[in-house]
Symmetry: D2
């Protein structure tokens, strides 16, 4: 049995993907994993230390492409499971409206959000995770940061491409920006 | 030991409450309880059949006052537990921004949202509940409605005071309005 | 002087565009133009009668692609000017967070939002316009609908691909769903 | 002709207001006035230097109570006109959902938002103003701050009661937090 057209077309060769990246904005989803207490207040923000698209080893949140034929919700679940493991139990929000849209450009001066590979338009969500997080082998470390730690100079220095700013937007959205 | 000032003042006599209701808008919270599937899509909307402020026995969502000194999140948890029982496991959203603000007036012609007792300003949330719901004795019935059922003429006829409209706003917010 | 790489790559040949459409989700923006009164309440919703991608002549809102290298805000302004003319004076929202994300698929059964050409992920906004609207030559008609008209069977029958549903989501978002 | 009950009850004596303030949360609206450029990007944030409830002369945004019988939109327009003058031309958002809810308590340790007079629940909005702003006589100064100025130590030192934090939440909401 041959794979469906939809499945085949989501597997682009490296060369094909680069052609698209030079011609069209690419749709991304980003999820800021959080721990919440019993009344829903966010207490900690998850960040992964890993090799980033810009070649640095730095901290970022869960992030990845939406494939052809894939629902945004399914892309979010797929990337959360890939980065946090199969038992993280992410709680996707009931509304698909992202709390913000991040625009990454190869030119870092356009928006301050930088991706050397592409023009990416990223739908950003805050996602509570209740389960046990087992970061993938690609990640060197998963750290759960308090709001104070998340805005500290130390942590900001570990983030590139505007990810420190994305993290502060998430803190603001959930009302815990110190 | 005497109760704290904060606690005492939240227990208004019936007469005192009526004085306030005639002079100031009263802050309410409303929670539309929902069931979600694994990728966060809302599948069912919970409604309680109970005696309403307008004297009818009709369907509504979880609703109640915010007390003096009480956090909005704590008021939401309190009313959810009161109406759905202690093991409903509500998942409050990480952001406190309501998806809409409902303005109830004693005069039903102002906004179409009607509360004969008061001018109420209500912060409305959609709240996934994962646990076992045991409606309080005040409720005759807790029904979980599909989106199609929630907008049906049958269900709309069971709601008063604009609650059918609130339910449709919640369906829209989570993207499942048929 | 030759055009910049960015400009060139946004002009895809018809063939190139079709290749991309078969391989990647395409980013769209949609704007529901509205008239508001002095306190910001929405009174009318603008819809354009025009040839749609599905080959029908039907009603829709302002819609179009985000180009490579283009900011989402600039794409919104460009499509609003293209469809409503240069003196419509659109008031883009201060936040870029869309009120909803619409997912169009070639298969109408996936989400109910249908685009025979492509998998499109569309960021949807409500945009007050204060100025004089002069619809482009492509449009046969620009109609300003009251909330009651917007949800009427008559108007819904003039919309295809889920656009009637998008319009009702916009009515809900601004709190005027009848 | 006697004034209507609704009008009369919104004019509480100073003593009556203090009774309510000790017993019930009071509903407030807050508006962060902003200047936007042609594509809707926020460029400046308006702040008023005036005597605050805590007795300090410090910087804050537009703020005030919602009266009995008053629509939230009408309260916003009333306070914007009171603080910015009759030709400020505020553009209220089409949706009434606030970007955040601020909870002020007499005890500054509860949320960090402090109002010595009362427990206030405040619906916060970002409101573009296009017109000429003429601050009321109560205000010593109206300053339009860039995002960089708004987060500067200098400006933060001029704000009390958590207003600096509210301002940063507004910057985040519109995506210009530096």
């Amino acid at each position: 049995m041959s794979p469906s057209t939809e499945t085949r077309s989501s597997w682009l060769s490296k060369e094909e993907l680069e052609t698209h990246r030079a011609r069209m904005p690419i749709v991304y989803v980003e999820a800021v994993p959080v721990r919440v207490d019993t009344n829903g207040t966010v207490t900690h923000f998850g960040t992964l230390l890993a090799m980033q698209p810009d070649g640095t080893i730095s901290r970022a949140v869960v992030s990845g492409r939406v494939l052809y034929g894939e629902l945004v919700r399914d892309a979010l679940v797929r990337h959360l499971e890939k980065d946090l493991g199969p038992v993280a139990l992410p709680r996707l929000p009931p509304s698909l409206a992202p709390f913000t849209v991040i625009e990454y450009f190869p030119d870092p001066s356009v928006t301050g959000f930088h991706d050397p590979r592409q023009h990416a338009i990223s739908l950003a969500y805050v996602v509570p995770v209740d389960g046990d997080c087992r970061p993938s082998q690609d990640a060197l470390d998963l750290a759960w940061l308090t709001p104070e730690e998340a805005v500290s100079e130390h942590v900001r220095a570990e983030m590139t491409g505007g990810h420190d700013r994305l993290l502060r937007l998430a803190l603001s959205h959930v009302g815990v920006l110190p």
